[in-house]
Protein backbone atom coordinates (compact mmCIF):
# COMPACT_ATOMS: atom_id res chain seq x y z
CA UNK A 1 0.00 0.00 0.00
CA UNK A 2 1.23 3.52 -0.74
CA UNK A 3 1.74 6.10 1.99
CA UNK A 4 -1.14 8.09 0.50
CA UNK A 5 -3.56 5.13 0.80
CA UNK A 6 -2.41 4.35 4.33
CA UNK A 7 -2.73 8.03 5.25
CA UNK A 8 -6.24 8.29 3.84
CA UNK A 9 -7.23 5.08 5.61
CA UNK A 10 -5.73 6.38 8.86
CA UNK A 11 -7.69 9.63 8.59
CA UNK A 12 -10.93 7.85 7.63
CA UNK A 13 -10.63 5.32 10.48
CA UNK A 14 -10.01 8.16 12.95
CA UNK A 15 -13.02 10.13 11.74
CA UNK A 16 -15.21 7.02 11.87
CA UNK A 17 -14.43 6.05 15.45
CA UNK A 18 -14.44 9.62 16.71
CA UNK A 19 -17.79 10.50 15.17
CA UNK A 20 -19.20 7.22 16.46
CA UNK A 21 -18.70 8.87 19.87
CA UNK A 22 -15.79 6.78 21.14
CA UNK A 23 -13.88 8.74 23.82
CA UNK A 24 -11.14 10.70 22.05
CA UNK A 25 -8.31 9.08 24.02
CA UNK A 26 -9.46 5.51 23.32
CA UNK A 27 -10.29 6.33 19.68
CA UNK A 28 -6.79 7.68 19.00
CA UNK A 29 -5.16 4.79 20.86
CA UNK A 30 -7.29 2.15 19.11
CA UNK A 31 -6.64 3.50 15.60
CA UNK A 32 -2.91 3.84 16.29
CA UNK A 33 -2.75 0.28 17.68
CA UNK A 34 -4.67 -1.21 14.72
CA UNK A 35 -2.35 0.48 12.25
CA UNK A 36 0.69 -0.65 14.22
CA UNK A 37 -0.54 -4.23 13.95
CA UNK A 38 -1.45 -3.91 10.25
CA UNK A 39 1.38 -1.81 8.82
CA UNK A 40 4.34 -1.74 11.17
CA UNK A 41 6.94 -4.51 11.65
CA UNK A 42 6.06 -7.44 13.92
CA UNK A 43 6.88 -6.60 17.49
CA UNK A 44 6.27 -2.84 17.15
CA UNK A 45 2.99 -3.21 18.93
CA UNK A 46 4.74 -4.86 21.87
CA UNK A 47 6.23 -1.47 22.75
CA UNK A 48 2.89 0.39 22.73
CA UNK A 49 2.63 0.61 26.53
CA UNK A 50 6.27 1.61 26.90
CA UNK A 51 5.71 4.30 24.21
CA UNK A 52 2.70 5.75 25.99
CA UNK A 53 4.40 5.63 29.40
CA UNK A 54 7.59 7.29 28.16
CA UNK A 55 5.64 10.03 26.37
CA UNK A 56 3.50 10.69 29.44
CA UNK A 57 6.39 10.50 31.90
CA UNK A 58 7.70 13.85 30.69
CA UNK A 59 8.07 16.15 33.65
CA UNK A 60 6.98 19.12 31.49
CA UNK A 61 3.70 17.40 30.56
CA UNK A 62 3.16 16.30 34.11
CA UNK A 63 3.17 19.91 35.25
CA UNK A 64 -0.31 20.07 33.67
CA UNK A 65 -2.16 18.29 36.54
CA UNK A 66 -0.37 20.58 39.01
CA UNK A 67 -1.36 23.73 37.13
CA UNK A 68 -4.92 22.33 37.06
CA UNK A 69 -4.72 21.79 40.84
CA UNK A 70 -3.62 25.42 41.33
CA UNK A 71 -6.43 26.63 39.07
CA UNK A 72 -9.03 24.45 40.74
CA UNK A 73 -8.00 25.61 44.23
CA UNK A 74 -8.30 29.26 43.25
CA UNK A 75 -11.35 28.65 41.05
CA UNK A 76 -13.37 27.05 43.82
CA UNK A 77 -12.56 29.67 46.43
CA UNK A 78 -14.15 33.11 46.70
CA UNK A 79 -11.04 34.64 45.12
CA UNK A 80 -12.88 35.28 41.83
CA UNK A 81 -15.69 37.25 43.48
CA UNK A 82 -13.26 39.22 45.65
CA UNK A 83 -11.02 40.05 42.72
CA UNK A 84 -14.01 41.17 40.71
CA UNK A 85 -15.40 43.19 43.62
CA UNK A 86 -12.09 45.02 44.15
CA UNK A 87 -11.72 45.91 40.47
CA UNK A 88 -15.34 47.09 40.34
CA UNK A 89 -14.76 49.34 43.36
CA UNK A 90 -11.73 50.92 41.69
CA UNK A 91 -13.19 51.28 38.18
CA UNK A 92 -16.85 52.08 38.70
CA UNK A 93 -16.45 55.73 37.71
CA UNK A 94 -15.18 54.97 34.19
CA UNK A 95 -18.01 54.76 31.58
CA UNK A 96 -18.59 51.04 31.14
CA UNK A 97 -16.30 50.55 34.13
CA UNK A 98 -18.28 47.58 35.37
CA UNK A 99 -17.81 45.77 32.06
CA UNK A 100 -14.14 46.73 31.95
CA UNK A 101 -13.69 45.54 35.56
CA UNK A 102 -15.10 42.19 34.45
CA UNK A 103 -12.66 41.98 31.53
CA UNK A 104 -9.70 42.80 33.83
CA UNK A 105 -10.95 40.41 36.51
CA UNK A 106 -11.18 37.64 33.88
CA UNK A 107 -7.63 38.37 32.69
CA UNK A 108 -6.13 38.40 36.19
CA UNK A 109 -8.07 35.34 37.26
CA UNK A 110 -7.13 33.51 34.04
CA UNK A 111 -3.47 34.20 34.76
CA UNK A 112 -3.85 32.72 38.23
CA UNK A 113 -6.06 29.76 37.32
CA UNK A 114 -4.92 28.98 33.76
CA UNK A 115 -8.35 27.76 32.72
CA UNK A 116 -11.00 29.31 30.50
CA UNK A 117 -14.19 27.70 31.83
CA UNK A 118 -13.02 28.07 35.45
CA UNK A 119 -12.48 31.79 34.80
CA UNK A 120 -15.93 32.12 33.24
CA UNK A 121 -17.49 30.35 36.17
CA UNK A 122 -15.60 32.21 38.91
CA UNK A 123 -15.89 35.75 37.54
CA UNK A 124 -19.20 35.25 35.73
CA UNK A 125 -21.06 33.99 38.78
CA UNK A 126 -20.45 37.36 40.45
CA UNK A 127 -20.03 39.57 37.38
CA UNK A 128 -23.05 38.62 35.26
CA UNK A 129 -25.67 39.24 38.00
CA UNK A 130 -23.95 42.55 38.87
CA UNK A 131 -23.83 43.71 35.25
CA UNK A 132 -27.48 42.79 34.71
CA UNK A 133 -28.45 44.49 37.97
CA UNK A 134 -26.82 47.60 36.55
CA UNK A 135 -28.89 47.35 33.36
CA UNK A 136 -26.41 45.64 30.99
CA UNK A 137 -28.23 43.44 28.46
CA UNK A 138 -27.92 39.69 29.12
CA UNK A 139 -26.09 39.03 25.83
CA UNK A 140 -23.56 41.81 26.45
CA UNK A 141 -22.84 40.64 29.99
CA UNK A 142 -22.50 37.02 28.84
CA UNK A 143 -20.26 38.04 25.93
CA UNK A 144 -17.84 39.92 28.22
CA UNK A 145 -17.45 36.94 30.54
CA UNK A 146 -17.27 34.25 27.83
CA UNK A 147 -14.65 36.21 25.89
CA UNK A 148 -12.72 37.30 28.99
CA UNK A 149 -12.62 33.66 30.07
CA UNK A 150 -10.88 32.58 26.87
CA UNK A 151 -7.76 34.40 28.08
CA UNK A 152 -7.29 31.39 30.36
CA UNK A 153 -5.71 29.34 27.57
CA UNK A 154 -3.52 32.22 26.36
CA UNK A 155 -2.16 33.83 29.52
CA UNK A 156 0.58 31.88 31.30
CA UNK A 157 0.48 29.25 32.74
CA UNK A 158 -1.54 27.95 29.81
CA UNK A 159 -1.94 24.18 29.41
CA UNK A 160 -2.38 24.68 25.67
CA UNK A 161 0.97 26.46 25.53
CA UNK A 162 2.68 23.67 27.49
CA UNK A 163 1.49 21.15 24.91
CA UNK A 164 2.46 23.37 22.01
CA UNK A 165 5.95 23.78 23.52
CA UNK A 166 6.28 19.99 23.73
CA UNK A 167 4.84 19.31 20.25
CA UNK A 168 6.78 22.08 18.49
CA UNK A 169 9.95 21.60 20.59
CA UNK A 170 9.94 25.29 21.52
CA UNK A 171 10.98 26.97 24.78
CA UNK A 172 8.04 27.01 27.20
CA UNK A 173 9.37 30.08 29.01
CA UNK A 174 9.62 31.98 25.72
CA UNK A 175 6.07 30.92 24.72
CA UNK A 176 4.63 32.04 28.05
CA UNK A 177 6.31 35.43 27.64
CA UNK A 178 5.21 35.72 23.99
CA UNK A 179 1.58 35.34 25.08
CA UNK A 180 1.67 38.36 27.39
CA UNK A 181 1.68 41.11 24.71
CA UNK A 182 -1.17 39.53 22.67
CA UNK A 183 -3.13 38.96 25.90
CA UNK A 184 -2.83 42.66 26.73
CA UNK A 185 -3.90 43.46 23.15
CA UNK A 186 -7.01 41.28 23.57
CA UNK A 187 -7.78 42.78 26.98
CA UNK A 188 -7.52 46.28 25.45
CA UNK A 189 -9.78 45.34 22.54
CA UNK A 190 -12.33 43.68 24.82
CA UNK A 191 -12.30 46.60 27.29
CA UNK A 192 -12.56 49.13 24.42
CA UNK A 193 -15.54 47.28 23.01
CA UNK A 194 -17.14 47.06 26.48
CA UNK A 195 -16.81 50.82 26.86
CA UNK A 196 -18.23 51.51 23.35
CA UNK A 197 -21.11 49.09 23.77
CA UNK A 198 -21.90 50.51 27.23
CA UNK A 199 -22.09 54.02 25.78
CA UNK A 200 -24.52 52.75 23.12
CA UNK A 201 -26.73 50.99 25.67
CA UNK A 202 -26.44 54.02 27.97
CA UNK A 203 -27.55 56.45 25.24
CA UNK A 204 -30.44 54.16 24.24
CA UNK A 205 -31.53 54.05 27.91
CA UNK A 206 -31.20 57.83 28.20
CA UNK A 207 -33.31 58.39 25.06
CA UNK A 208 -35.95 56.02 26.38
CA UNK A 209 -35.98 57.89 29.71
CA UNK A 210 -36.39 61.21 27.93
CA UNK A 211 -39.21 59.81 25.77
CA UNK A 212 -41.15 57.70 28.23
CA UNK A 213 -39.76 58.59 31.66
CA UNK A 214 -38.86 54.91 32.17
CA UNK A 215 -35.60 54.89 34.12
CA UNK A 216 -33.03 52.19 33.39
CA UNK A 217 -30.52 50.85 35.91
CA UNK A 218 -27.84 51.85 33.39
CA UNK A 219 -28.44 55.50 34.28
CA UNK A 220 -27.85 54.91 37.97
CA UNK A 221 -24.45 56.03 39.27
CA UNK A 222 -22.80 53.97 42.00
CA UNK A 223 -21.11 55.71 44.88
CA UNK A 224 -18.24 54.05 46.63
CA UNK A 225 -16.10 55.45 49.40
CA UNK A 226 -12.33 55.20 49.60
CA UNK A 227 -12.87 52.81 52.50
CA UNK A 228 -14.94 50.53 50.19
CA UNK A 229 -12.09 50.56 47.70
CA UNK A 230 -9.42 49.61 50.22
CA UNK A 231 -11.57 47.11 52.13
CA UNK A 232 -11.24 44.39 49.49
CA UNK A 233 -7.54 44.79 48.78
CA UNK A 234 -6.25 42.59 51.64
CA UNK A 235 -8.17 39.63 50.21
CA UNK A 236 -6.97 40.18 46.66
CA UNK A 237 -3.35 41.13 47.17
CA UNK A 238 -2.14 37.68 48.30
CA UNK A 239 -3.41 36.17 45.04
CA UNK A 240 -1.75 38.88 42.98
CA UNK A 241 1.44 38.21 44.96
CA UNK A 242 1.03 34.48 44.19
CA UNK A 243 0.70 35.31 40.51
CA UNK A 244 3.80 37.50 40.44
CA UNK A 245 5.72 35.17 42.78
CA UNK A 246 5.15 32.20 40.48
CA UNK A 247 6.26 34.24 37.47
CA UNK A 248 9.40 35.41 39.30
CA UNK A 249 10.17 31.81 40.33
CA UNK A 250 9.91 30.75 36.69
CA UNK A 251 11.71 33.60 34.99
CA UNK A 252 14.17 34.40 37.75
CA UNK A 253 15.65 30.94 37.22
CA UNK A 254 14.59 29.73 40.67
CA UNK A 255 12.39 26.91 39.41
CA UNK A 256 11.72 24.81 36.30
CA UNK A 257 8.20 24.95 34.78
CA UNK A 258 7.19 21.76 36.60
CA UNK A 259 8.59 23.02 39.91
CA UNK A 260 6.72 26.27 39.33
CA UNK A 261 3.53 24.25 38.85
CA UNK A 262 4.14 22.34 42.10
CA UNK A 263 5.03 25.51 44.00
CA UNK A 264 1.98 27.33 42.58
CA UNK A 265 -0.34 24.49 43.60
CA UNK A 266 1.05 24.35 47.15
CA UNK A 267 0.90 28.15 47.55
CA UNK A 268 -2.67 28.26 46.18
CA UNK A 269 -3.75 25.57 48.68
CA UNK A 270 -2.04 27.48 51.53
CA UNK A 271 -3.67 30.79 50.46
CA UNK A 272 -7.20 29.40 50.30
CA UNK A 273 -6.63 27.77 53.69
CA UNK A 274 -5.41 31.03 55.28
CA UNK A 275 -7.76 33.51 53.57
CA UNK A 276 -10.94 31.48 53.03
CA UNK A 277 -10.37 28.79 55.70
CA UNK A 278 -10.75 26.05 53.09
CA UNK A 279 -8.65 23.31 54.64
CA UNK A 280 -10.81 20.48 55.95
CA UNK A 281 -10.84 17.23 53.91
CA UNK A 282 -14.53 17.81 53.13
CA UNK A 283 -13.82 21.26 51.68
CA UNK A 284 -10.70 20.16 49.82
CA UNK A 285 -12.32 17.04 48.33
CA UNK A 286 -14.23 18.82 45.49
CA UNK A 287 -11.03 20.68 44.51
CA UNK A 288 -8.96 17.50 44.42
CA UNK A 289 -11.61 15.35 42.73
CA UNK A 290 -12.25 17.87 39.97
CA UNK A 291 -8.48 18.22 39.45
CA UNK A 292 -8.14 14.47 39.18
CA UNK A 293 -11.05 14.17 36.75
CA UNK A 294 -9.73 16.76 34.38
CA UNK A 295 -6.10 15.68 34.69
CA UNK A 296 -6.86 12.05 33.97
CA UNK A 297 -9.08 12.87 31.01
CA UNK A 298 -6.47 15.25 29.58
CA UNK A 299 -3.41 13.08 30.26
CA UNK A 300 -5.10 10.10 28.58
CA UNK A 301 -5.84 12.23 25.52
CA UNK A 302 -2.26 13.54 25.54
CA UNK A 303 -0.69 10.08 25.92
CA UNK A 304 -2.82 8.57 23.16
CA UNK A 305 -2.41 11.61 20.89
CA UNK A 306 1.35 11.20 21.17
CA UNK A 307 1.03 7.48 20.31
CA UNK A 308 -1.18 8.46 17.36
CA UNK A 309 1.41 10.99 16.15
CA UNK A 310 4.22 8.44 16.59
CA UNK A 311 2.43 5.93 14.34
CA UNK A 312 1.63 8.69 11.83
CA UNK A 313 5.29 9.63 11.75
CA UNK A 314 6.56 6.01 11.58
CA UNK A 315 4.33 5.33 8.58
CA UNK A 316 5.57 8.57 6.99
CA UNK A 317 2.03 9.96 6.84
CA UNK A 318 2.89 13.22 8.59
CA UNK A 319 6.14 13.72 6.65
CA UNK A 320 4.45 12.99 3.28
CA UNK A 321 1.54 15.32 4.07
CA UNK A 322 3.93 18.06 5.18
CA UNK A 323 6.04 17.58 2.00
CA UNK A 324 2.88 17.72 -0.10
CA UNK A 325 1.81 20.99 1.54
CA UNK A 326 5.30 22.43 0.93
CA UNK A 327 5.21 21.27 -2.73
CA UNK A 328 2.04 23.32 -3.30
CA UNK A 329 4.24 26.45 -3.05
CA UNK A 330 1.44 28.43 -1.45
CA UNK A 331 2.23 32.03 -0.56
CA UNK A 332 3.10 32.19 3.15
CA UNK A 333 -0.09 34.06 4.08
CA UNK A 334 -2.35 31.69 2.13
CA UNK A 335 -0.56 28.83 3.89
CA UNK A 336 -1.15 30.47 7.27
CA UNK A 337 -4.82 31.21 6.55
CA UNK A 338 -5.40 27.64 5.31
CA UNK A 339 -3.80 26.18 8.43
CA UNK A 340 -5.73 28.49 10.76
CA UNK A 341 -9.02 27.65 9.01
CA UNK A 342 -8.22 23.97 9.51
CA UNK A 343 -7.61 24.68 13.21
CA UNK A 344 -10.99 26.47 13.41
CA UNK A 345 -12.80 23.53 11.78
CA UNK A 346 -11.02 20.99 14.01
CA UNK A 347 -11.99 23.17 16.96
CA UNK A 348 -15.63 22.40 16.17
CA UNK A 349 -15.03 18.83 17.31
CA UNK A 350 -11.77 18.47 19.21
CA UNK A 351 -10.28 20.02 22.35
CA UNK A 352 -7.14 22.15 21.84
CA UNK A 353 -4.87 19.43 23.30
CA UNK A 354 -5.74 16.96 20.55
CA UNK A 355 -5.60 19.58 17.81
CA UNK A 356 -2.06 20.57 18.78
CA UNK A 357 -0.64 17.09 19.22
CA UNK A 358 -2.31 15.60 16.13
CA UNK A 359 -1.59 18.43 13.72
CA UNK A 360 1.83 19.66 14.88
CA UNK A 361 3.86 17.08 12.88
CA UNK A 362 1.95 18.05 9.73
CA UNK A 363 1.62 21.81 9.96
CA UNK A 364 4.87 22.84 11.61
CA UNK A 365 7.34 21.76 8.86
CA UNK A 366 5.59 23.82 6.13
CA UNK A 367 5.38 26.79 8.52
CA UNK A 368 9.10 26.42 9.23
CA UNK A 369 9.84 26.31 5.46
CA UNK A 370 7.70 29.46 5.04
CA UNK A 371 9.95 31.04 7.72
CA UNK A 372 7.24 31.71 10.26
CA UNK A 373 8.43 32.15 13.84
CA UNK A 374 7.03 29.09 15.62
CA UNK A 375 6.77 30.91 18.96
CA UNK A 376 4.66 33.59 17.25
CA UNK A 377 2.59 30.89 15.53
CA UNK A 378 1.96 29.17 18.87
CA UNK A 379 0.35 32.37 20.12
CA UNK A 380 -1.72 32.84 16.94
CA UNK A 381 -2.88 29.21 17.00
CA UNK A 382 -3.89 29.55 20.65
CA UNK A 383 -5.98 32.68 19.95
CA UNK A 384 -7.69 30.84 17.09
CA UNK A 385 -8.41 27.92 19.40
CA UNK A 386 -9.73 30.39 21.99
CA UNK A 387 -12.43 31.29 19.46
CA UNK A 388 -13.53 27.64 19.47
CA UNK A 389 -14.34 28.06 23.17
CA UNK A 390 -16.94 30.73 22.46
CA UNK A 391 -18.44 29.91 19.09
CA UNK A 392 -20.89 27.14 18.26
CA UNK A 393 -21.07 24.18 17.82
CA UNK A 394 -18.83 23.38 20.82
CA UNK A 395 -18.16 26.68 22.63
CA UNK A 396 -17.56 25.22 26.09
CA UNK A 397 -17.62 28.69 27.69
CA UNK A 398 -21.16 29.20 26.31
CA UNK A 399 -22.31 26.17 28.29
CA UNK A 400 -20.64 27.51 31.43
CA UNK A 401 -22.43 30.86 30.95
CA UNK A 402 -25.72 29.08 30.27
CA UNK A 403 -25.25 27.22 33.52
CA UNK A 404 -24.47 30.25 35.71
CA UNK A 405 -27.10 32.49 34.05
CA UNK A 406 -29.78 30.06 32.85
CA UNK A 407 -32.33 32.81 32.24
CA UNK A 408 -30.30 34.43 29.44
CA UNK A 409 -31.48 32.73 26.21
CA UNK A 410 -28.67 30.83 24.43
CA UNK A 411 -29.43 32.90 21.33
CA UNK A 412 -28.65 36.12 23.24
CA UNK A 413 -25.46 34.58 24.65
CA UNK A 414 -24.30 33.57 21.16
CA UNK A 415 -25.09 37.00 19.67
CA UNK A 416 -23.45 38.69 22.64
CA UNK A 417 -20.29 36.68 22.07
CA UNK A 418 -20.01 37.20 18.30
CA UNK A 419 -18.48 40.72 18.45
CA UNK A 420 -15.73 39.28 20.65
CA UNK A 421 -15.03 36.56 18.05
CA UNK A 422 -14.67 39.44 15.55
CA UNK A 423 -12.25 41.21 17.94
CA UNK A 424 -10.15 38.05 18.19
CA UNK A 425 -9.94 37.92 14.39
CA UNK A 426 -8.86 41.58 14.46
CA UNK A 427 -6.21 40.68 17.08
CA UNK A 428 -4.88 37.87 14.84
CA UNK A 429 -4.64 40.31 11.90
CA UNK A 430 -2.86 42.90 14.07
CA UNK A 431 -0.42 40.21 15.25
CA UNK A 432 0.25 39.21 11.63
CA UNK A 433 1.06 42.83 10.75
CA UNK A 434 3.00 43.50 13.97
CA UNK A 435 4.47 40.16 15.08
CA UNK A 436 6.72 42.07 17.52
CA UNK A 437 3.73 42.35 19.87
CA UNK A 438 4.39 38.67 20.61
CA UNK A 439 8.12 38.32 19.94
CA UNK A 440 9.50 41.52 21.49
CA UNK A 441 8.96 40.64 25.15
CA UNK A 442 10.62 37.18 25.10
CA UNK A 443 13.48 38.63 23.06
CA UNK A 444 14.05 41.34 25.67
CA UNK A 445 13.85 39.00 28.68
CA UNK A 446 15.52 35.89 27.26
CA UNK A 447 17.60 37.29 24.37
CA UNK A 448 17.13 36.46 20.69
Amino acid sequence: MTTLSIGLLYGAATLLVMFAGMPIAFALGAVATLFMIAFMPNGSVDTITQNVYEEMASITLLSIPLFILKGSAIGRSRAGQDLYGALHAWMHKIPGGLGIANVFACALFAAMAGSSPATCSAIGSAGIPQMRKHGYSGGFAAGIIAAGGTLGILLPPSITMILYAVAAEQSLGRLFLAAIGPSLLLVTLFAGYAMWKFRREYHAAKLQYERSGQESELLRIDTMTTRDRFALLPRVLPFVILLTGVMIALYGGFATPSETAGLGAVLALILIAVIYHVWTPGELAPILVSTLKESTMLMFIIGMSLLYSYVMSYLHISQSTAEWIVSLHLSRWILLITILLMVVVLGFFLPPVSIILMTAPIILPPLRVAQFDLIWFGVIMTIVMEMGLIHPPVGLNLFVIKNIAPDIPLRDVIWGVMPFVGLMIVAVVILCVFPEIATWFPDVIMGK
Binding site: M18, M22, T33, L62, L66, R76, F254, T291, L292, K293
Partner: protein, 182 residues
Amino acid sequence: MAHGLDPVETGQGGASVSDAPADRVLAAVNRVIVILSSIALVLAACVLTYSVVVRYFLKYSTDWQDEMSVFLIVGAVFMSAAAIQAQRGHIGIEAIVGLLPKRVNHVRILLVDAASLAFCGYFAWKSITLLHEAIVDDYHSSSTWAPPLWIPYSLMTAGMILLSVQLLLQIVAGLRAPDPAA
Protein backbone atom coordinates in the same frame (compact mmCIF):
# COMPACT_ATOMS: atom_id res chain seq x y z
CA MET B 1 -12.19 20.37 28.54
CA ALA B 2 -13.84 20.94 31.86
CA HIS B 3 -10.83 22.64 33.45
CA GLY B 4 -11.55 21.85 37.05
CA LEU B 5 -15.29 21.98 36.66
CA ASP B 6 -17.69 19.15 37.19
CA PRO B 7 -19.95 18.21 34.29
CA VAL B 8 -22.79 19.63 36.33
CA GLU B 9 -21.05 23.01 36.30
CA THR B 10 -20.66 23.05 32.55
CA GLY B 11 -24.14 21.61 32.12
CA GLN B 12 -22.77 18.59 30.28
CA GLY B 13 -22.17 14.91 30.73
CA GLY B 14 -23.83 12.28 32.85
CA ALA B 15 -22.90 9.22 34.80
CA SER B 16 -24.12 5.68 34.43
CA VAL B 17 -25.09 4.10 37.71
CA SER B 18 -25.98 0.51 38.45
CA ASP B 19 -26.77 -1.32 41.66
CA ALA B 20 -25.32 -4.71 40.67
CA PRO B 21 -22.91 -6.12 43.33
CA ALA B 22 -19.92 -5.98 40.98
CA ASP B 23 -20.68 -2.33 40.23
CA ARG B 24 -20.91 -1.53 43.91
CA VAL B 25 -17.58 -3.26 44.61
CA LEU B 26 -15.86 -1.38 41.79
CA ALA B 27 -17.47 1.90 42.87
CA ALA B 28 -16.06 1.37 46.38
CA VAL B 29 -12.62 0.55 44.94
CA ASN B 30 -12.82 3.67 42.77
CA ARG B 31 -13.71 5.83 45.76
CA VAL B 32 -10.60 4.65 47.64
CA ILE B 33 -8.45 5.12 44.53
CA VAL B 34 -9.72 8.67 43.98
CA ILE B 35 -8.74 9.56 47.56
CA LEU B 36 -5.28 7.99 47.20
CA SER B 37 -4.76 9.58 43.78
CA SER B 38 -5.75 13.00 45.12
CA ILE B 39 -3.21 12.59 47.90
CA ALA B 40 -0.61 11.54 45.30
CA LEU B 41 -1.23 14.75 43.32
CA VAL B 42 -0.77 16.94 46.39
CA LEU B 43 2.33 14.93 47.36
CA ALA B 44 3.80 15.51 43.89
CA ALA B 45 3.25 19.26 44.29
CA CYS B 46 4.91 19.10 47.75
CA VAL B 47 7.89 17.12 46.41
CA LEU B 48 8.53 19.72 43.68
CA THR B 49 8.13 22.57 46.18
CA TYR B 50 10.55 20.80 48.53
CA SER B 51 13.17 20.58 45.78
CA VAL B 52 12.94 24.35 45.12
CA VAL B 53 13.12 25.14 48.82
CA VAL B 54 16.14 22.94 49.62
CA ARG B 55 17.99 24.13 46.52
CA TYR B 56 17.63 27.81 47.37
CA PHE B 57 17.60 27.83 51.15
CA LEU B 58 19.69 24.81 52.09
CA LYS B 59 21.86 24.97 48.94
CA TYR B 60 21.78 21.32 47.96
CA SER B 61 20.21 19.61 44.97
CA THR B 62 18.07 16.52 44.99
CA ASP B 63 18.13 14.02 42.13
CA TRP B 64 14.93 12.16 42.87
CA GLN B 65 12.18 14.77 42.96
CA ASP B 66 11.32 14.87 39.24
CA GLU B 67 11.02 11.10 38.94
CA MET B 68 9.17 10.77 42.21
CA SER B 69 6.62 13.35 40.97
CA VAL B 70 6.33 11.55 37.63
CA PHE B 71 5.60 8.25 39.41
CA LEU B 72 3.03 9.90 41.68
CA ILE B 73 1.22 11.71 38.87
CA VAL B 74 1.36 8.89 36.29
CA GLY B 75 0.12 6.54 39.02
CA ALA B 76 -2.72 8.89 39.95
CA VAL B 77 -3.73 9.33 36.31
CA PHE B 78 -3.79 5.62 35.38
CA MET B 79 -5.32 4.45 38.65
CA SER B 80 -8.19 6.93 38.49
CA ALA B 81 -9.03 6.22 34.83
CA ALA B 82 -11.75 3.73 35.82
CA ALA B 83 -13.37 6.18 38.25
CA ILE B 84 -13.46 8.78 35.48
CA GLN B 85 -14.92 6.25 33.02
CA ALA B 86 -17.60 5.36 35.60
CA GLN B 87 -18.85 8.94 35.20
CA ARG B 88 -18.28 8.91 31.42
CA GLY B 89 -15.62 11.54 32.04
CA HIS B 90 -13.42 10.57 29.07
CA ILE B 91 -14.81 13.02 26.54
CA GLY B 92 -15.79 12.12 22.99
CA ILE B 93 -17.48 13.79 20.02
CA GLU B 94 -21.19 13.56 20.69
CA ALA B 95 -22.23 15.45 17.54
CA ILE B 96 -24.43 12.67 16.16
CA VAL B 97 -26.03 11.59 19.44
CA GLY B 98 -28.95 13.99 19.18
CA LEU B 99 -29.69 12.90 15.62
CA LEU B 100 -30.08 9.19 16.35
CA PRO B 101 -33.26 7.41 17.47
CA LYS B 102 -33.01 6.20 21.09
CA ARG B 103 -32.69 2.53 20.19
CA VAL B 104 -29.93 3.16 17.62
CA ASN B 105 -28.12 5.37 20.10
CA HIS B 106 -28.31 2.61 22.71
CA VAL B 107 -26.68 0.20 20.25
CA ARG B 108 -24.10 2.86 19.36
CA ILE B 109 -23.10 3.26 23.02
CA LEU B 110 -22.75 -0.51 23.38
CA LEU B 111 -20.56 -0.73 20.27
CA VAL B 112 -18.43 2.22 21.37
CA ASP B 113 -17.99 0.67 24.82
CA ALA B 114 -17.10 -2.69 23.24
CA ALA B 115 -14.49 -1.04 21.00
CA SER B 116 -13.12 0.90 23.99
CA LEU B 117 -12.97 -2.33 25.99
CA ALA B 118 -11.12 -4.10 23.15
CA PHE B 119 -8.49 -1.35 23.10
CA CYS B 120 -8.15 -0.94 26.87
CA GLY B 121 -8.11 -4.71 27.39
CA TYR B 122 -5.34 -5.06 24.79
CA PHE B 123 -3.41 -2.19 26.41
CA ALA B 124 -3.87 -3.81 29.84
CA TRP B 125 -2.54 -7.12 28.51
CA LYS B 126 0.50 -5.40 26.96
CA SER B 127 1.03 -3.56 30.27
CA ILE B 128 1.09 -6.92 32.07
CA THR B 129 3.79 -8.23 29.71
CA LEU B 130 5.80 -5.00 30.16
CA LEU B 131 5.50 -5.26 33.94
CA HIS B 132 6.58 -8.91 33.82
CA GLU B 133 9.65 -7.94 31.74
CA ALA B 134 10.47 -5.07 34.10
CA ILE B 135 10.43 -7.44 37.09
CA VAL B 136 12.27 -10.35 35.44
CA ASP B 137 14.93 -8.18 33.75
CA ASP B 138 15.13 -5.74 36.67
CA TYR B 139 14.50 -2.57 34.64
CA HIS B 140 15.58 0.68 36.24
CA SER B 141 15.24 4.25 35.02
CA SER B 142 18.37 5.77 33.48
CA SER B 143 18.63 8.64 35.99
CA THR B 144 21.20 8.86 38.80
CA TRP B 145 18.49 7.93 41.30
CA ALA B 146 17.62 4.89 39.10
CA PRO B 147 14.40 3.67 40.73
CA PRO B 148 12.95 0.34 39.56
CA LEU B 149 10.46 0.73 36.74
CA TRP B 150 8.10 -1.97 38.02
CA ILE B 151 6.67 0.73 40.31
CA PRO B 152 5.07 2.96 37.62
CA TYR B 153 4.44 -0.01 35.31
CA SER B 154 2.47 -1.80 38.03
CA LEU B 155 0.32 1.31 38.56
CA MET B 156 -0.27 1.60 34.81
CA THR B 157 -1.17 -2.11 34.62
CA ALA B 158 -3.53 -2.01 37.58
CA GLY B 159 -5.17 1.16 36.25
CA MET B 160 -5.73 -0.29 32.79
CA ILE B 161 -7.13 -3.55 34.22
CA LEU B 162 -9.55 -1.58 36.39
CA LEU B 163 -10.53 0.57 33.41
CA SER B 164 -11.23 -2.55 31.35
CA VAL B 165 -13.35 -4.03 34.16
CA GLN B 166 -15.25 -0.74 34.41
CA LEU B 167 -15.98 -0.78 30.67
CA LEU B 168 -17.06 -4.42 30.86
CA LEU B 169 -19.49 -3.60 33.69
CA GLN B 170 -20.88 -0.69 31.69
CA ILE B 171 -21.45 -2.98 28.70
CA VAL B 172 -23.20 -5.54 30.91
CA ALA B 173 -25.34 -2.77 32.43
CA GLY B 174 -26.15 -1.54 28.91
CA LEU B 175 -27.20 -5.05 27.79
CA ARG B 176 -29.40 -5.46 30.87
CA ALA B 177 -31.00 -2.05 30.50
CA PRO B 178 -34.60 -2.05 29.25
CA ASP B 179 -35.15 -1.31 25.56
CA PRO B 180 -34.99 2.52 25.41
CA ALA B 181 -37.52 2.63 22.59
CA ALA B 182 -40.04 0.49 24.47
